[in-house]
């Protein structure tokens, strides 16, 4: 990801906030654009489009005539112009019956995008009438079966909708036949259907259908990165300090759950929880409180853990007279460290957790309304308010570097061109991610509107510990009646292999009637699932790259729960660039603004300009820049062709 700010817009008299996450993302291929890069969040159809983009084969393109723009004494540094850091993308759609009805529109509300080709993997369920279907004769039932099927176009298909239908309808249907000839209306012109043979399954309790999800696409705000904010973490502090907090609203994470002994249980973490817990004996309660009290001020009692400094936290816990249950709670759900992490790390993490407790609620965590993707947007807004300008949809093709000074002199803008440069994706640590849409909570409670953090210890040796964040619809990240579930772990294998065992244990995916046991009936049904890997560059050093000295490397998201790593890095980079400036100083209140009458020439119309740049697709522009910041993913870039319009200070 390439982020940059221009020195012209950072005059001394205005403190420009520059934040690592504040950057522009280019999605030039579809001319889609969004803030946040790998930190972004999407509507459901936005996510489908993103999935498509990430499935595309990587193609190299030739260096073309813009090479002529390179002057003597300059050299160029080519950048990847599209994000190929996302890997192993797999999509699964469960138990959804689609009915084609020409009268119905399957359309996202408010969407006015033009229709795309529809690619759909479907089951044709033949002759429902004979099988006791109560459906109308003309209806077609399609079971959406498997991966790689739902492409970005589906939401724009005019003639698909999902039919809610009785369970008995398909119960006996285990033969799946392609019935193209019988159902010609299915093969809409310009659209491609693939038949996949799969047994159709009935579902009695289903209330949410795929068409509803599509129609309510805008209700979803699906984050690529799943994190929470520690109430006393550096992100919360920064938001408050800079007044960026005024742009966002938060909810408390209501519960911390864990998967233990085959079931999902609540983790007692506050004093009230501990004493109110029915799972703990009185003795356990005392032991837990004693241990937690020690953790909150562990630095004052170094003698307690002196012998364990070089040993694991897990070993240390064993010496503390805690029952296995309690030790697991502390290790996996409170400290959230690995079995192999050292004692001091575990104590520090436990302390951080406890310190954050009670600041805003009963758990230490906050979640932003509309998803984590709001945070970069909020910082972008603040930056814009102070004169930073963001330009979506414009890629950077290359950096023009002065051979002598090793400074980046300019960039060349691209429009959809791709040129490979830093092939440093392989061998990096990966994050495994899954996103599920489910129909009920993992643990039933009085309220349906709860946000839960679920920690799942490794199911087997060698498997990763998985962190689940279950979001309810009032968090503004999913439609009513659904839950948006994020799973995250450090990759051992690929995302599907790492996370699907946990999904199978906690959720119900393969809903075959008759095979579903009592227990499974209680589990949330997975309506839709996405798996993917993204790189974790948190340990990447700038020195790994031969970069111009005014180009800075920003890491992408890390796999941790909090945001401290990113904030630290942002601050560090900011101070490298502007040693004398305060990082994210408080923005003034609206009342305090004084217009100084500082003139600026009238500017061009946005759309006019934009259209022109569309016409000139592939045409390049050379821009002056002093400071460039680049992240290790370097796939998406921003440009800032407005530079010449901005009055110099």
């Amino acid at each position: 990801m390439l982020y940059w700010i221009n020195s012209n817009i950072l005059p001394k008299k205005i403190k420009c906030i520059f934040f690592k996450k504040s950057f522009i993302y280019n999605f030039s291929h579809f001319r889609q654009a969004y803030y946040g890069g790998n930190w972004a969040s999407f509507t459901f159809s936005g996510l489908l489009a993103w999935i498509e983009e990430n499935k595309e084969a990587f193609s190299k393109e030739e260096i073309t005539e813009w090479m002529n723009d390179i002057k003597e004494g300059e050299e160029i540094l080519l950048l990847n112009s599209s994000d190929k850091s996302i890997m192993n993308v797999e999509v699964f759609n469960f138990d959804l019956f689609l009915t084609v009805d020409p009268d119905e529109d399957l359309k996202e509300e408010g969407s006015s995008q033009k229709e795309n080709d529809l690619f759909l993997t479907v089951d044709l369920v033949e002759d429902l009438k004979e099988q006791g279907s109560s459906q109308r004769k003309d209806d077609l039932f399609l079971t959406v079966a498997a991966a790689e099927s739902f492409e970005s176009g589906i939401d724009k298909s005019p003639d698909m909708y999902v039919n809610e239908h009785p369970s008995e309808a398909l119960e006996h249907n285990d033969v799946c036949t392609s019935s193209q000839k019988k159902n010609p209306e299915l093969f809409l012109d310009g659209k491609k259907y693939v038949n996949v043979c799969k047994t159709s399954v009935a579902e009695t309790r289903k209330t949410i259908t795929y068409s509803q999800i599509i129609r309510e696409s805008r209700r979803f705000n699906i984050d690529l990165v799943s994190k929470l904010l520690y109430s006393r973490g550096s992100l919360v502090d920064l938001l408050i300090k800079s007044n960026v907090s005024r742009y966002a609203e938060f909810k408390n994470v209501n519960r911390i759950l864990t998967y233990q002994n085959g079931s999902v249980e609540q983790v007692p973490c506050s004093r009230a929880d501990v004493f109110g817990s029915k799972q703990l004996t009185v003795v356990e309660k005392r032991m837990l409180m004693k241990f937690l009290s020690f953790c909150i001020e562990y630095e004052q009692h170094p003698e307690e853990y002196a012998d364990f400094k070089e040993r694991t936290f897990s070993d240390f816990l064993k010496t503390k007279n805690l029952t296995t249950n309690l030790a697991n709670f502390i290790l996996h759900s409170i400290a959230m460290v690995l079995d192999t992490d050292l004692t001091t790390e575990g104590l520090r993490a436990t302390q951080h957790f406890l310190q954050s407790l009670g600041r805003y609620g009963n758990t230490p965590f906050l979640f932003p309304l509309y998803g984590l993707g709001e945070i970069p947007q909020c910082f972008c807004r603040m930056c814009a308010v102070f004169g930073g300008i963001y330009c979506l949809r414009h890629g950077i093709r290359c950096l023009v570097v002065d051979k002598e000074t090793r400074r980046c002199k300019a960039i060349i803008d691209s429009c959809g061109k791709r040129i490979s440069l830093w092939a440093f994706y392989c061998g990096e640590q990966l994050i495994s991610r899954a996103v599920l849409i489910t129909d009920r909570s993992l643990l039933k409670a009085d309220s349906e509107q709860l946000i839960s953090l679920v920690t799942v210890p490794p199911l087997k040796n060698g498997q990763p510990a998985v962190r689940i964040i279950e979001l309810c619809s009032s968090s503004m990240t999913c439609m009513q009646g659904t839950y948006l579930v994020h799973l995250t772990c450090s990759s051992v294998e690929n995302a599907k292999e790492d996370l699907s065992p946990v999904v199978s244990k906690l959720f119900s995916e393969n809903i075959k009637t008759g095979e579903k046991g009592e227990v499974e009936a209680e589990r949330p049904n997975v309506l839709w699932a996405l798996y993917f890997n993204m790189p974790d560059f948190s340990s990447v050093e700038r020195s790994s790259y031969d970069l111009p000295n005014n180009v800075y490397v920003c890491c992408g998201p890390d796999s941790g729960l909090g945001n401290d790593c990113s904030i630290q890095q942002a601050e560090h980079i900011f101070h490298q660039m502007f040693p004398d400036e305060e990082f994210c100083p408080p923005a003034p209140n609206p009342e305090d603004i004084v217009y100084d009458g500082d003139g600026a020439p009238p500017e061009e119309s946005l759309f006019k300009e934009h259209e022109e740049s569309e016409v000139g697709d592939g045409e390049e522009r050379t821009l002056d820049t002093k400071h460039l910041v680049t992240s290790t993913t370097n796939e998406a870039e921003d440009a800032q062709e407005s530079v010449k319009e901005i009055p110099s200070e």
Partner: protein
């Protein structure tokens, strides 16, 4: 009287006078060389409306409109949107439709839309006929008014019209959310664990 905060987002091409309209409304001030919206997250003004006080929090684009780079977050929770065009520039009216589309895609469903044809003091070089603009506004059920930020014409009226279209407060709506803003100083900790 109950004070109700209403977020209003401004849209429209660069240079049509979005900031001037707000500046006139909020500070009753017009500056020919107004600097393009530096430093203001939003401006506020409170006006009475029936039994309520409407406190408008008016968000300006902060230049993000220039590259069509307004984040979804800009529209979140807006009660109303004012889309401004310049009556002396046909192209700013043409692109109005794109802003309407943008608003449909990203804005709340029940948002009140107002279209303001600004610079009505320059009607001798008008390019956009009133009739055309009015008909378009009607076709999308939007408020329509021509304004002059320079001469303080119809600016108050614009916001009054918006005020009147804001649906009365739904008590259920009001209670449902337990979301909050992070404030300084943070709430004091009342129930620490240990």
């Amino acid at each position: 009287m109950a004070i109700r905060e209403l977020k209003v987002c401004l849209l429209g091409d660069t240079g049509v006078g979005k900031s001037s309209v707000v500046c006139r409304f909020v500070q009753d001030h017009f500056d020919h060389n107004i600097s393009p919206t530096i430093g203001a997250s939003f401006l506020t003004k409170t006006v009475p409306c029936g039994k309520e006080l409407h406190k408008f929090l008016i968000w300006d684009t902060a230049g993000q409109e220039r590259f069509h780079s307004l984040a979804p977050m800009y529209y979140r929770g807006s009660a109303a949107a004012v889309i401004v065009y310049d009556i002396t520039k046909m192209d700013t009216f043409q692109t109005l439709k794109k802003w309407v589309k943008e608003l449909k895609e990203h804005g709340p469903e029940d948002i009140v839309v107002a279209i303001a044809g600004n610079k009505s003091d320059l009607s001798d070089i008008r390019e956009v006929p009133v009739k055309e603009a009015k008909e378009y506004a009607e076709s999308i059920s939007a408020i329509f008014i021509e304004t002059s930020a320079r001469n303080a014409v119809n600016i108050e009226e614009l916001f009054q019209k918006i005020s009147r279209q804001i649906p009365p407060l739904d008590p259920q709506e009001y209670e449902k959310t337990d979301a909050f803003k992070l404030t300084r100083p943070p709430p004091t900790s009342s129930k620490r664990c240990c």
